[in-house]
Symmetry: C2
Subunit: 363 residues, 2 copies
C-alpha cells in the first residue's frame, strides 16, 4: 500500500503530544476517515509484532504473544466538523488547540505510540481504530466490526481512550427513549364538549414524571444515578382547535444492573396507570457494567492511580460489554471541551496517559 | 362615480336569490373587495331615501326618518379564496352553488334588497357592508369603521346576516388565549439532576386543565357553555437535553356575562397554584350579551319566529356590543357549509329571510 498522497506518513517515533498535532492536521471528519485510516494502517503494518486487519475504514492490529490476558485499546478516527480550528496550534503554556485535540486524536496518538513502543507487552494487545463515532449509531465503525468480525474484538478488558480527563470512567448507563401518545378528538375550541382533549389526557403522564424518584445504585464501588425525563412534548393543531394527539418523549437513563428488558418493563410500569394510547420504543441502547472487579481492570486501576467514576452518558464501552468484554473510558482530554470551537488538550496530560499505559503494560 | 368596468351594475330589482348569484359571480376575496364595494356604493347612491358614507371599502347607508328605533343590518363583502367554485351554478333543486353563496353573499343580497324595497321602514335602518372579515382581526372593516366613525354604527339593535341557517343566534362567547410558561434549567439527560425539567414543572397546569369543570350559564334564555382548553403544548431542545422551557397555550371560551377583566382574573385563579413563570395574554376578544330583552329584539324574534340559540364562537356581533348595540346573527346560509369547496345555499331560504325581515320592518 502506498502512503496517502496529501499528508506525510505518521511518524510514530515522535511522542504522543507531537503525534497528536500531526493527527489533528490530518482532517478526518465523520464520513471522511479514509485517508487517515490508510495512514494508520500503513504505520501499523510497518510494525513486525502486529498483525493488521481492515474492514471498511476500521483498522484492528493485534499482538499474538500467548499472554494470559488480552487488553483492547480502542478509539475513533473521526471528528465533528472542523470549525476554523485546523491546523492545530501549540501555545506557550503547552496547550494544543484544534478540532480533535481532545476528542480524540490525543487518545489515538496514545494508542499508536503504545503500539509502536511496547513490542513485548505483559498482556496481549488489540488496537482498534474506527470511523463514524460522532454520527448516527448505525454508521458506527465499532458496531460494524462487532457485527462482522466479533472475534477481532475479543479480550478480557477494554479501554476506550475517549476524553475522561485522565480518570477512569467505568461502564455506562443505558438509555431508552419512548414516545407516549395520548389521543382525543378534534373540535372547535368554542365547542370543546364536542371533542376530547389529548393534552388534558396527558396530565397523568406528566404527573407520573414529576413524582418519579430516580434510583441510585452502587456497582463495583461506582454510584450510578438514574433519571426519567420528558425531553419533548408536542401537541397542537391550531389555536382554536382541541388537539386530538399529544406526544410526550421520555428518556430513561438507567444503571447497568438493569437489563434492557428490565428497563423497558420498569418504564411501562411507571406509566401503567396513564391513558397511553401508543407506547413506542423509539431508541434503546443498553448500559455496560463497569467490570472493575476483573483482575486486569484491578491491575489497571492500581497502575493509573486515582479512583474510578461512573459514566452516566452512553458510550461505546457498551458495545464491548455486549460482547462480554468489560470496558472503561480512560483518555487525556477534558470531556467538557469536546466538540467546541476552542477544543484543546494539555500536552502533559497526553504524555502522562501514554506513560501510565506503558507502565501498566510493561511492569 | 362610474360603474365598475368588469361587471354589470347590481340589479336590485331582482329577488334576493338572483341577486345572490350576481354577487357570487362578482369575485371579492379578502383584500380584493374594491370593485364590489364600488358597485354596492353605486347601487345604494341611486336610492333617494338613503344617505351613503364610505370609509375605505366599507359602505354605510342610512335612512333618516326620525323613527323611535334604529336597526343596523350588517354583512361582510369578502369571501375566502375561490376554489374553482365561481361562477355560481343553480341546480334543479333550487340550490345555488359557489364561493360566498352561504358566507355571506346571500346575506348581502338580503341587505341590498331590503335597502331597495323598504323605503319607509317602521324603524330607521343602517346598512353596513364591510371588508376583510375572513382574515386577521386588525384588518376587519367593521372594526375600522367602529374606530373611525362609531356614530355611523349607532343603533338600538343590530343584525349580522352571517349564515345561521335562518335561526337567530344571540350574542357570542368571549375568547381569551394565554401562554403559560414554565422554566427550568438545561442539562444533559444522562445527568438530569444537574438541571430542572420545565415539562415536569408543567404537570400541575395540565392537571388543573384536566380537572376543570366548565360552567354553563343561561342568559336571556340562551344557554352558553364555557370551555378551558390547552390548544398547544411545546417543549423540547434535543432528545438528550432536559428542557428548560415549556409553553402551554390555553384558550378560554367564556359566556358573555363575564367581562374581559373577570375572564382573565378567573383564568389566573385557575392556575394560581401552578409554577407558572410567565403568564402572557396572547389574544383577547370579549363576548357579547344577546340583548334579546331589548324591545326591538323581542319584536324581531316574534316576527322571524322560532327560538334563539346561543352563539358559541366569536363573531363580529361583539364589535356592536362594544359600542353598546345588542346584536344577533341571522342569515340564510348553513354555517357548516361556509368556507367549503361545495359551499351552497337553498334559494328558498334566501327568499324566506328577505321576506321575514321585510315583514318585521313594515308591519
Amino acid at each position: 500500500m502506498d502512503r496517502p498522497a496529501r499528508h506525510p506518513a505518521l511518524d510514530l517515533t515522535r511522542d504522543a503530544a507531537e503525534l497528536t498535532a500531526q493527527l489533528v492536521d490530518f482532517p478526518s471528519e465523520s464520513g471522511h476517515e479514509k485517508d487517515l485510516a490508510d495512514a494508520v494502517e500503513h504505520a501499523l503494518r510497518a510494525l513486525d509484532h502486529l498483525t493488521v486487519d481492515r474492514y471498511g475504514n476500521n483498522i484492528v492490529a493485534r499482538t499474538h504473544l500467548g499472554r494470559a490476558e488480552r487488553v483492547v485499546l480502542a478509539g475513533h478516527l473521526d471528528t465533528v466538523p472542523i470549525a476554523g480550528n485546523v491546523p492545530s496550534r501549540l501555545d506557550e503554556h503547552g496547550v494544543l488547540w484544534g478540532c480533535g485535540t481532545c476528542d480524540m486524536k490525543s487518545g489515538i496518538a496514545v494508542q499508536l505510540r503504545t503500539a509502536a513502543t511496547v513490542p513485548a507487552p505483559n498482556r496481549d494487545l488489540t488496537f482498534v481504530f474506527y470511523d463514524n463515532e460522532e454520527v448516527a449509531a448505525h454508521l458506527n465503525g465499532l458496531g460494524k466490526v462487532a457485527d462482522a468480525h466479533p472475534d477481532w474484538l475479543a479480550g478480557d478488558f477494554a479501554i476506550l481512550l475517549e476524553p475522561s480527563d485522565g480518570q477512569v470512567e467505568g461502564g455506562c448507563q443505558g438509555t431508552l427513549r419512548v414516545l407516549l401518545r395520548t389521543t382525543g378528538e378534534r373540535a372547535h375550541s368554542a365547542r370543546s364538549w364536542m371533542g376530547a382533549n389529548a393534552v388534558h389526557a396527558a396530565a397523568p403522564i406528566l404527573a407520573a414524571l414529576a413524582a418519579y424518584e430516580p434510583r441510585r445504585r452502587v456497582i463495583d464501588g461506582l454510584e450510578y444515578r438514574e433519571g426519567l425525563n420528558a425531553v419533548r412534548v408536542e401537541a397542537g393543531v391550531a389555536n382554536n382547535v382541541i388537539p386530538d394527539a399529544c406526544t410526550v418523549t421520555v428518556n430513561f437513563r438507567y444503571a447497568p444492573d438493569r437489563s434492557p428488558e428490565e428497563a423497558l418493563a420498569h418504564v411501562r410500569e411507571v406509566f401503567a396507570g396513564c391513558p397511553v394510547d401508543e407506547f413506542i420504543v423509539d431508541d434503546h441502547s443498553p448500559g455496560a457494567l463497569p467490570g472493575l472487579s476483573h483482575p486486569a481492570a484491578k491491575a489497571f486501576m492500581e497502575s493509573v492511580g486515582g479512583s474510578a467514576h461512573p459514566k452516566f452518558g452512553w458510550t461505546d464501552v457498551s458495545r464491548f460489554s455486549a460482547l462480554g468484554v468489560p470496558a472503561v473510558n480512560y483518555g487525556p482530554g477534558n470531556p467538557l471541551l469536546a466538540h467546541k470551537k476552542d477544543e484543546r488538550v494539555q500536552t502533559d496530560r497526553i504524555l502522562h496517559c501514554e506513560e501510565r499505559l506503558r507502565a501498566w503494560l510493561t511492569d
